[in-house]
């Protein structure tokens, strides 16, 4: 049974409070029991406590599937990119390196790649993924487009991303401030890579040579 077409996943990084509820709820999901597939990333840990939850964006052109040499990553007809198919995955890690969002994880011990599959056992019957059910600030939201427009009048969903020369459109939407969305219609995934961290080197002035007067 496919995921209902009117239900979408929305990520609102502004609302993330870094509580890690999603990490723990994710391990409870039956499609990847005991393993958390969601990543909670610090944006700039030296300067800020801001975190961003990263789930699979379920690309229209899944790079992970494009690079898979074993033909193991498949996309169901509702647009959900599934975890690697067990009989095919050779645990080469190509998908881990290729994913623009850093989603797939390689489990070297059991020779398999596993990734967020939008809790397919739940979303395919119209239920929310585990992370969206527990998120206290609803930074992770699963519902209809009308709901999100009513709940977040200041923001608008964007599903176009730029990763170097690659333009990616996704099933999962990112909420951005409405004012910004009119100026930039996509999110540049790699933009932060060019930012240089502010220098925090501490320099102490040395006043002369303290041993100048000492006779040896």
């Amino acid at each position: 049974m496919p995921k209902p077409d009117d239900l979408h996943f929305f990520i609102d990084p502004n609302r993330c409070i870094g509580c890690q509820s999603c990490l723990h709820a994710c391990t409870e999901c039956d499609t990847h029991r005991g393993e958390s597939m969601i990543h909670l990333e610090y944006v700039n840990r030296a300067e800020s406590v801001q975190t961003v939850p990263v789930v699979c964006m379920h690309c229209e052109q899944p790079t992970c599937a494009e690079v898979c040499p074993a033909d193991a990553i498949k996309r169901t007809s509702d647009g959900v990119v599934q975890s690697a198919r067990k009989p095919r995955c050779i645990a080469c890690g190509n998908c881990v390196v290729a994913c623009p969002f850093g989603v797939p994880e390689l489990y070297e011990d059991r020779k398999i790649m596993m990734k967020c599959d939008m809790c397919y056992d739940r979303s395919s019957v119209g239920k929310k993924p585990m992370c969206a059910t527990v998120c206290p600030s609803q930074a992770l939201f699963f519902g209809t487009r009308e709901e999100i427009e009513r709940l977040r009048p200041q923001s608008t969903p964007i599903n176009t991303f730029q990763f170097g020369a690659q333009t990616i459109t996704t099933q999962v939407h990112m909420m951005v401030p409405r004012a910004l969305a009119t100026r930039a219609t996509y999110v540049d995934v790699a933009a932060a890579m060019d930012e240089q961290p502010r220098s925090r080197a501490v320099s102490l002035k040395v006043i002369g040579d303290p041993f100048a007067d000492v006779e040896v």
């Binding site: 229209e60 052109q61 899944p62 033909d71 996309r75 969903p157 459109t169």
Partner: protein, 187 residues
């Protein structure tokens, strides 16, 4: 923002190649290794028929080979008569090993009673492990998979083997026991 259902594509084919070009100008391997699950599971009628015909042909060829092998075995006739042992060499309820018709076919000669002798090939009919004679329990025992054969007739009585052990036809000439042929049985 693009509506998910307005692309005019069937639900089967939803993934777009990275260059965005239409499917008919894409390289052929994209058809063989599709990203979409329904396409991956799709089996063409022609491929299915090809599989069925080739598999049936393989089975038929196998049967013909078995028939030819049986015919060839009948043509070659029985192996030469060979003396195995003297009656006095073997106690009642004991067994000795010998090779017949050549050194690659280990066999067992068992003395059941004073005047009764039986001999069987030692290869278990399951996976060709060497069977162990256990005259006290009235059976041959295969330790690989707990198979058992009847000591007197060689028919399987327990475990995975389904065919009886190869029987060696014996002949007693005075005080000597001779092997005069082998009998491969299916039931």
């Amino acid at each position: 923002m693009a509506d998910l259902n307005s692309r005019g594509m069937s639900r089967e084919q939803i993934s777009i190649p990275p260059d965005g070009a239409p499917l008919d100008v894409q390289p052929a391997w994209r058809q063989d290794f599709p990203i979409d699950w329904p396409q991956d599971l799709y089996v063409e009628r022609r491929d299915f028929m090809k599989f069925m015909v080739l598999t049936s042909a393989a089975f038929t060829l196998g049967q013909v080979c078995i028939g030819l092998q049986n015919w060839y075995r009948k043509q070659t006739g029985q192996p030469p008569v060979r003396r195995i042992a003297s009656v006095d060499d073997i106690a009642v309820g004991a067994a000795i090993g010998f090779a017949y018709p050549d050194e690659h076919e280990p066999c067992l000669l068992v003395r059941l009673t004073t005047n009764e002798f039986v001999a069987f090939g030692q290869k278990c009919t399951h996976l060709s492990c060497a069977v162990i004679p256990q005259p006290a329990e009235g059976s041959f025992y295969c330790p690989c998979h707990e198979g058992r054969f009847d000591l007197r007739t060689g028919v399987p009585i327990a475990g995975p083997p389904r065919r009886p052990l190869t029987r060696v036809v014996l002949e007693r000439r005075g005080q000597d026991i001779y092997a005069v042929g082998v009998e491969e049985r299916t039931t």
